[in-house]
Amino acid sequence: MPAGTLYRGREGMWSWVAHRVTGVLIFFFLFVHVLDTALVRVSPEDYDNVVATYKTPVVALLEYGLVAAILFHALNGLRVIAVDFWSQGPRHQKQMLWGVVILWLALMIGAIYPVLGHAARELFGS
């Protein structure tokens, strides 16, 4: 087991956990994403066949999750940078986290229609 940790379950610890989990998830996705895009060097048909599976409702939901992970990691990453480089950063880290969460929620609501709309139309008709 890893040795004792410094953080004790406050906002700072959970934002760190979420940053780490999303970072690792995005990396694994990126690996697969480069592989699927490499199919454009095989043939247009092979590429289009694989991308067709990305347009199904189940994958649309996964895509929404990916967007959620990337947006959180990006916004919280900017917060980490502000804590490190802005002289007032450490003092405002908690407020900045709530800023990140609120902005993230707003963007996720905004992403519902663009990312999930086509899946809803396929499932429930348009």
């Binding site: 454009v40 060097r41 289009d48």
Partner: protein, 160 residues
Amino acid sequence: MATTETTASGIGPVEGGSVYNVDNPAPLIEAPRKRTKKTPRTTRGNFEMAAWLFMRLSGVLLVVLVITHLLIQLVLDGGVSKIGFAFVAGRWASPFWQVWDLLMLWLAMLHGANGLRTVINDYAERANTRLWLKGLLYTATVFTILLGTLVIFTFDPNIR
């Protein structure tokens, strides 16, 4: 030393007073990490500091590169429904988007790989486990960067 006396140093008798005074000064103790003539030149570089800085610089650039990428691929112009070989061909006809995607590929892979290196260092406690996990990580990273770069540079819209 008698316990009721007050000493010249001004430290109360409870602490026992100081044996040092102006005529008998305490020896100077060097700061623990002070570099002296005898300190050997450091054999370590500043790799970890460079890596730390790279995570932040690449992070700032990736915000612009990745969020725009998501907007184009998943939101604008019909979202994911429009993506296909023809769409890729249209975008990579422009050197601007080729450079964009190349930069995004290299920065994201190096940023992610360095992040995973940190995660491995944190959780894999046996030296051997760390060695193997990092070997796997670096192999996958080099492979993915080379493959992606090759695909961007050799893309052929008339492949069939």
